[in-house]
Symmetry: C2
Subunit: 242 residues, 2 copies
């Protein structure tokens, strides 16, 4: 039976099958090797995610023994880090609670799927002028954004600290993305969500992390059923045991 990857997170996960998305790219990469299961919950923070976790995972794993997913990505924090005194205050979760929620989410997966690798992903960086435009239009550039890059960075570090503490692999997309030229507009479409370039950055980090943490890669995974180039044109049915 094929291994599975489960993608659990907020809108950046829910939108990951839009054109150029990182979830679709993972499905494409492992098309003959693994199943990718989408569990994205737009707008959710870790507090809400924790509340719905068992229901969110219904049908995400296969049946029977050995059916634990190979890995699950846990990608929350962009909403938790919403500023507590701005318009998206109801999405805000205090930093310490964010960490304890992440611990609880990891504990849930460890209990339910003992062999599954839990890969944490930090919140992405924020480009504040684009957030102001997204919230208030073009005419009010002096308004305050509802998210800040500084707050996102603090939550990113908090996520890394939890991953280190629990010995889980972690993708620091907050730092990684800011290494790219013009990341503010090349990688982010509205200062928060990802362009195809941003999606590609995360996709490549996930691929790298799957390989280094659990040896999960296109090269190492067996392919499901004979590949076309393995089928002998002179005797095709040989490949199918006939």
């Amino acid at each position: 039976m094929r291994p599975r990857l489960v993608l659990f997170g907020d809108s950046i996960t829910e939108l990951s099958f839009a054109s150029g998305g990182w979830g679709a790219a993972l499905t494409d990469r492992f098309a003959r090797q693994a199943d990718v299961v989408l569990r994205g919950l737009s707008g959710y923070n870790t507090r809400w995610a924790l509340k719905v976790l068992p229901r969110a995972m219904e049908g995400a794993a296969g049946a029977g023994a050995g059916a634990d997913p190979a890995a699950v990505t846990v990608f929350f924090g962009a909403n938790d880090a919403s500023l507590p005194d701005q318009v998206q205050a109801h999405q805000h979760v205090p930093l310490k609670e964010y960490q304890s929620n992440l611990r609880a989410i990891c504990a849930y997966f460890k209990e339910r799927w003992p062999s599954t690798a839990v890969i944490l992903i930090t919140p992405p960086p924020i480009y504040e002028p684009a957030r102001i435009r997204d919230m208030y239009g073009d005419d009010e550039p002096s308004r305050q954004p509802e998210r800040s890059n500084e707050a996102a960075g603090a939550y990113a570090q908090a996520c890394i600290d939890v991953a280190t503490e629990l010995n889980h692999p972690v993708i620091d997309i907050w730092t990684k993305m800011q290494e790219f030229p013009d990341w503010q507009t090349s990688a982010l479409s509205d200062g928060l969500h990802f362009t195809p370039v941003g999606n590609k950055i995360l996709f490549e980090e996930v691929v790298k992390t799957l390989e280094t943490s659990i040896g999960f890669s296109q090269e190492r995974l067996p392919s499901d059923l004979p590949l076309f180039h393995e089928i002998d044109p002179k005797d095709p049915m040989k490949a199918f045991g006939a």
Copy 2:
């Protein structure tokens, strides 16, 4: 538990999660409502597909009663219709065998998943000059293509006939695609596989067919877990039963 859509077919299915692909678009459309399972086998014809069918479907359905997928798309014929006297002759399957293989595939699904809608998709149209270029490069335009639009059309009609006989919904993508302006190059990338425009044409046909045949649509399906706009900013936890 979420309903599932299983995509079973050849390379046009296997490649359906590449950027702009119809499989990814389905996953995106039903992101909070259904799981999409990819079972694409590049290069396969119905003879080979039938050989591997039980193994190909491992893990495609959920566990337990009521876990049959809502629908499965069966999208073969582009390879069966390869011309028997050209370079891809080993992929060719005679028309009558193509039909009996399709019947056997449908019978398998009916037996294994009695409540699952089996949606047949005809082979797409072929743009022969692009096939010649793909096979022999730019310098041999007088070569014969390995596939012809006429043969694809005959297999499309044969597929429609099987669907009619078995009372299954069918998507005639061979006819549909040729209604689009410049379909030869706007919808097809190499005279056979789909551009993002071609992918969108098929995506919309699948969405329409899911709705008309089994009432499966974004509007009618329940959403998994409270949607962000349903969460009251003044009392978010109310949405989670707290």
